[in-house]
């Protein structure tokens, strides 16, 4: 066979290799392919490579460990017949309805420690974790004076330092129209270190708060929401950090904002959390 003929035969053989690998090639084509492979070591080597890659891929994926607790968790969820303890990220709206357990009507302002009056209204283990983020929002964004003039990008970068400076543009990119970052900085509340973005929009005040999770503090893989007084808190955990969006937006708006910010925060922490 001349080179042109061989090229055509090789091209045809290659069009059949995908179906051959998937065991979907009809018998007549399979016989033709086998005949070509006997005469063409290059195509034979190509198919050998494809077959090897398929086997290696299969082995690699199948060897990945499965969390030992997962089966028990699924069994419990099924047997309870109710909503799971941790719903998927995509079911956060449902989670909001289920988990929003703290709905208190009065806001008691205390002069000395006004945030404590609100924090005292949260209860339960999950609320305790959500309270971590709420505390910083109250102390740093609500009850502390901050400059009303939005910081410039270079000021934010300087305040955040090299570890977190690149998060600011990611956050900015995910904000809806009319929302802007007023301040981005590191701060401390109740002896705990936070990375804090203060965001404003039409008279509303929003915080994106990140802090390293301490032992025993976990929200698993879910996104949780609660309402405390006039504040809405959404929290999730990612790469060793607890992340919160807290605001005086309504529950749905706050949830949507958190849903918009969470992927960027997760991606950032995946790369930068150390």
């Amino acid at each position: 066979m001349n080179a042109a003929g061989q090229n055509g035969a090789c091209a045809k053989a290659r069009t059949h290799m995908d179906a051959y690998l998937s065991r979907e090639l009809p018998e007549p084509d399979r016989r033709k392919l086998a005949g070509h492979l006997e005469a063409c070591p290059i195509c034979a080597a190509d198919l050998e490579t494809r077959t090897r890659l398929r086997a290696q891929l299969q082995a690699a994926v199948r060897s990945a460990p499965v969390p030992p607790a997962l089966e028990g968790r699924v069994r419990r969820a099924v047997r309870d017949e109710g909503p799971p303890h941790r719903t998927g990220l995509w079911a956060i709206a449902a989670a909001a309805a289920v988990i929003a357990c703290v709905a208190l009507v009065s806001y008691v302002r205390q002069r000395a420690n006004p945030e404590n009056a609100i924090l005292a209204k949260t209860s339960g283990p999950l609320a305790a974790v959500l309270k971590v983020g709420l505390r910083d929002h109250l102390q740093c964004a609500v009850f502390r004076k901050y400059a009303k003039r939005p910081e410039a990008a270079n000021e934010m970068a300087a305040d955040l330092g090299p570890g977190f400076a690149t998060l600011a543009p990611l956050v900015k990119a995910k904000l809806p129209a009319g929302f802007f970052i007023v301040s981005a900085h590191h701060c401390t509340a109740d002896g705990r270190h936070y990375t804090h973005f203060i965001i404003a929009a039409a008279g509303k005040l929003i915080s994106l708060v990140l802090t390293r999770a301490k032992p025993g503090e976990s929200m698993g893989g879910g996104i949780y929401q609660t309402g405390v007084d006039r504040f809405q808190v959404v929290g999730f955990e990612s790469h060793g950090y607890l992340a919160y969006v807290i605001s005086d937006l309504d529950a749905e708006q706050n949830l949507q904002l958190a849903a918009s910010l969470a992927p960027s925060v997760r991606e950032f922490l995946a790369t930068h959390a150390g």
Binding site: Q6, D18, I42, V61, R62, L70, G220
Partner: protein, 184 residues
């Protein structure tokens, strides 16, 4: 009560043997172990809620994978915006390249990283076909796409995976073999 318990046990007996493969698929599709756990739990809850409609003797595995794929699709629509379109265009360009050489020795980590870099549609196709060994017809049913789409996605996915791994080949100094048809 005993009837409910029997039904639960029947569901668990049919569905739980597939948990590991569902999780591994979800982990590769979502790129996040915790999200994968949530997706699998969500899949089982959805399956349990519609178990009355499940026909005993039919393909429980394919039924669960369809629910998983839908769950993840829903998740993607909610959490990422139109990334797939751009990715698909990039893949179309790369898919026209001839098959590059691939190193003989590839670690599991290297092949998984290459897989994780594929756009979602192609990663899904290659996982369902090459790892889970569903037929083209079954995959078409799982993804609600024509069989031709399954075939083209799978072909491109394999080429792209090979392209990713060829970067390793270049790093190892392997050159492309002689051109096809050059044999006497």
């Amino acid at each position: 009560m005993s009837s409910k318990r029997a039904r639960t046990e029947e569901f668990e007996k049919s569905a739980l043997p597939h948990l590991h493969e569902l999780y591994r698929t979800a982990a590769r599709l979502l790129g996040d172990a915790v999200k994968a756990e949530d997706a699998v739990q969500e899949t089982y809850l959805q399956a349990w809620k519609s178990f009355e409609r499940f026909q005993p003797g039919t393909n429980c595995r394919a039924w669960l994978f369809k629910i998983l794929v839908n769950t993840i699709h829903h998740h993607r629509r909610k959490w990422s915006n139109l990334r797939l379109v751009k990715d698909s265009e990039q893949v179309l360009e790369q898919a026209t390249d001839p098959p590059p050489p691939v190193p003989e020795h590839i670690t599991e980590g290297e092949i998984l990283r290459a897989l994780d870099r594929l756009p979602a549609d192609y990663r899904t196709a290659v996982l369902l076909a090459d790892v889970q060994e569903f037929s083209y017809k079954e995959i078409a049913g799982l993804l609600d796409v024509p069989i031709g789409t399954v075939m083209s996605r799978l072909s491109r996915a394999r080429k792209l995976l090979r392209g990713e791994l060829s970067a390793l080949a270049r790093a190892y100094g392997i050159r492309r073999a002689g051109a096809e048809g050059s044999q006497p």
